[in-house]
């Protein structure tokens, strides 16, 4: 749930140490896997979410494990967790306990529903976060059940908020010397999207699931071409005029002046969209995109992952950067989406293999090799 927050911080250049139980994090057991072969070092999900972190193993439930964790906390600025509410306290690692060891620590906890409230104890797999936050209700084909987003977007999206909270708290700590605890709810993060609360409670509008059809204007939807689909978005009357100009033999009824305002076109969506389809089917998605954009009409192809990777626009701008991994080989992966002074941040590096940095990090904490062996024998690390 919280791994993407650590990934964001690692991509921004922080030294992030992932603490895993001795048997390995559960995400190591989730696919997709390299070559579709399950294996603790072959999960691509784990590789993405933990790229650039260092990794140690530690049994937080053992008294010695807790003591080591607190020594690590003493040397850290930030503590990030995604345990169910109350679990960190039970482990002796609650915010109050962390503060005793590191007075200006910044702790952040991400959970499905937050640290308090009547549903704080509810379980929150990603699909529950998407549905309880409202986004799922407006996702998918109206003739079929609502559909979840790809990957685990409710977790990822919450984690962007977590990272924002952390950098703001760091800025404030630099100025005041005071740390903080940040409590982030996955449900609330998703519920910030799409004005659903205000539209229902104030405007009296109930948004319904309607594919990608925009609610205020049309043509603003997915349209078929010879070899796939495009998304065409027309709002301003000027763009509508331009479309009709490019489409020289368009049906006469589309010239009606009452179709100029977007909301009037939206009311006629069942008449307009099928006519637009007759036009879009004449072209490939590439041809149509070029033709419309040359005339200033917003339109882009609906890319599959392979299409996106092949786009010259994407290749030229270096979103994907190389990583060298001992277990996965050399591969290209998404880099932080912001350039700083024209430069991409370097790919933060591969995800840690299980216990990869035990020797280095425990040695920094003053644990000698013999002591580390003893801890390993007792399965604390």
């Amino acid at each position: 749930m919280g791994q993407f927050a650590g990934k964001l911080l690692a991509d921004l250049g922080m030294d992030v140490v992932k603490v895993e139980p001795p048997g390995g994090d559960d995400v190591r057991r989730l696919g997709p896997f390299k070559g579709d072969e399950p294996g603790l070092e072959l999960s691509l999900r784990f590789a993405f979410l933990n790229g650039g972190k260092r990794g140690i193993t530690l049994d937080l439930g053992a008294p010695e494990g807790r003591a080591l964790a607190l020594r690590l906390v003493e040397r850290s600025d930030i503590v990030l967790d995604s345990f169910p509410p109350g679990e960190m306290e039970r482990l002796g690692l609650g915010y109050t306990q962390l503060k005793e060891r590191n007075p200006d620590v910044i702790a952040a906890s991400v959970t499905g529903f937050g640290q308090d409230g009547p549903r704080a104890g509810y379980a929150c797999p990603d699909i529950v976060g998407l549905s309880m936050g409202g986004l799922m209700f407006i996702s998918g084909d109206p003739s079929r059940p609502p559909v979840q987003a790809p990957e685990t977007q409710s977790y990822y999206y919450s984690c962007v908020y977590v990272a924002l909270g952390i950098v703001m708290a760091l800025l404030r700590r630099d100025a005041t010397g005071i740390g903080d605890h940040i409590d982030v709810s996955v449900q609330e993060s998703i519920a910030t999207q799409e004005h659903m609360i205000r539209e229902a409670a104030f405007d009296g509008v109930a948004i319904k699931r309607n594919g990608s059809q925009h609610k205020h204007t049309t043509p603003a939807n997915v349209f078929p071409c010879k070899d796939g689909h495009v998304y065409m978005f027309i709002l301003a009357a000027r763009d509508w005029d331009r479309l009709l100009e490019v489409w020289a033999d368009h049906p006469k009824e589309l010239d009606a002046p009452e179709l100029k305002p977007p909301h009037k076109r939206r009311q006629q969506v069942d008449m307009i969209n099928p006519l637009i389809e007759q036009f879009t089917r004449r072209y490939t998605k590439g041809e149509l995109t070029r033709l419309l954009q040359e005339h200033g009409v917003p339109c882009l192809p609906v890319n599959s992952p392979a299409d996106f990777l092949a786009e010259p626009q994407v290749r030229e701008r270096g979103l994907f950067g190389p990583v060298e991994s001992a277990t996965l080989g050399r591969y290209l992966t998404t880099r932080f989406p912001v350039t700083f002074d024209g430069e991409r941040l370097e790919s933060a590096g591969p995800a840690p293999t299980l216990g990869q940095d035990n020797a280095a990090i425990y040695s920094d904490l003053g644990i000698g090799a013999a002591e580390l062996e003893r801890l390993a024998a007792r399965r604390v690390v």
Binding site: M132, T192, F233, F308, Y331
Partner: protein
């Protein structure tokens, strides 16, 4: 209590959702944010939703806590004033099409040349460089371009359908302030600002990182999986009693499966060999979903969620906006905000998901009437006289 961004001044040249939401986030956490618009062809596009540009609920929600200054960028004197204001600020955010700011004389090269400590954030749709950087984009076109629309579907649909939402906009609204605050941290150490450039489509694709790794490492083109999960079964969305009522159920262990069977009143299912493991249940997903769907169809989704969650089985209601507005969890945590507006009265809306033990966001404030902060910006900050301001207003420079 010190706000996080007290003393940080921001000039926002943004319109729509993504840029305004990013600027509003900084304002909500204490920054002083000047939103620049003009009555001469320079109003935010969202003011057009509704009859009164001063009372568009949609505009209000994404521009909370900002100040309003009207300056006409079609007049050279107007551009000069905005430039002066930016040079007295810490951050400028813009989402013009690439090249427009530079043509106006507000580009990062000249501004940062004069003030190296300035943080300049731009948020173009497809990027500031590359063969398609000049293309016109809106949120849903970027959702399509990034791969999201293709993947956000049930399997086997002949036409990708996707979501009605504009995910890249909402992502930019949080990712851009993250980058700005990271740059503020960096500036505290180095004294130097940065030029931050975030293509909204890159932000979206970044959140498909596992999919793109699968494509690159396994040389395949990942396809939509609908409501499937490799690690849970049942895992899906089921019709409930009532019009367009749905719940989700996600069973991640054998213990949860046995509990679900018990609550459904079907204990025999727990020993049915077709359903003896997650893998078997995924193989027989059609039979499984039919049995569960028959049970949920006669029940209220909130009752289903409570019964299952209280017994430890992950479940949720596919909530509508009306559900969210009265959700006891959201209400108990103070997430439903009520914002006063002089024309519209009290507007309920979503709050923010960050709860700090030792701090809070600023109380939500409606953006003020257009140009309400002209005097503060032009006279108090830039030092011009009231007479000069009045003249510029007459000449439609400050307008």
């Amino acid at each position: 209590m010190t706000s996080f961004l007290t003393g940080i001044r921001v000039v926002s040249l943004t319109t729509g959702i993504a840029g305004p939401n990013a600027a509003r986030m900084l304002a909500t956490y204490g920054a002083e944010v000047f939103k620049i618009e003009s009555r001469v062809g320079g109003l935010d596009a969202f003011r057009a939703y509704g009859d009164n540009p001063e009372a568009s609920p949609r505009f209000i929600e994404v521009n909370l806590n900002t100040l309003s200054v009207t300056i006409n960028l079609k007049e050279p004197r107007g551009v000069a004033l905005v430039r002066e204001l930016i040079l007295k600020s810490d951050v400028v955010m813009e989402n013009f099409r690439p090249g427009v700011a530079t043509r106006l004389g507000l580009g990062p090269e000249s501004l940062r040349g004069e003030k190296p400590a300035l943080i300049y954030m731009r948020m173009p749709g497809l990027g500031s460089t590359g063969p398609l950087s000049g293309y016109g984009t809106w949120g849903p076109t970027l959702t399509a371009y990034s791969g999201f629309t293709y993947l956000w579907n049930h399997p086997g649909q002949d036409r990708p359908v996707g979501s009605q939402g504009v995910y890249p906009d909402y992502l930019t609204g949080v990712m851009a302030p993250l980058a700005v605050v990271a740059a503020l941290l960096e500036r505290r150490r180095t004294g130097t600002g940065s030029l931050l450039d975030m293509a909204q489509v890159d932000a979206a694709a970044y959140l498909l990182g596992t999919t793109y790794l699968d494509a690159v490492v396994n040389h395949r083109n990942p396809q939509p999986i609908g409501n499937d999960s490799p690690s849970a079964a049942p895992h899906g969305c089921y019709r409930c009693r009532g019009e367009e009522r749905w719940c989700v159920i996600a069973v991640e262990s054998e213990e949860q499966w046995r509990t679900l069977c018990r609550i459904m009143g079907e204990p025999a299912l727990a020993t049915d060999p077709r359903f003896g493991s997650i893998d078997l249940r995924r193989q027989h997903a059609g039979d499984l979903d039919a049995i569960i769907g028959a049970w949920t169809a006669e029940r209220d989704p909130h009752d289903i969620m409570s019964a299952l969650q209280e017994a430890g089985v992950p479940a949720g209601v596919v909530q509508t906006g009306s559900d969210l507005a009265v959700d006891p969890q959201l209400v108990a945590r103070g997430f439903i905000e009520r914002v006063e507006h002089p024309v519209l009265g009290e507007i309920p809306m979503a709050g923010l998901p960050l709860h700090f033990a030792g701090a809070a966001h600023e109380p939500f404030r409606s953006p003020p009437p257009l140009g309400a902060d002209n005097r503060y910006a032009v006279c108090d900050l830039l030092g011009y006289t009231a007479e000069q301001l009045a003249q510029w207003e007459t000449e439609q420079v400050v307008y």
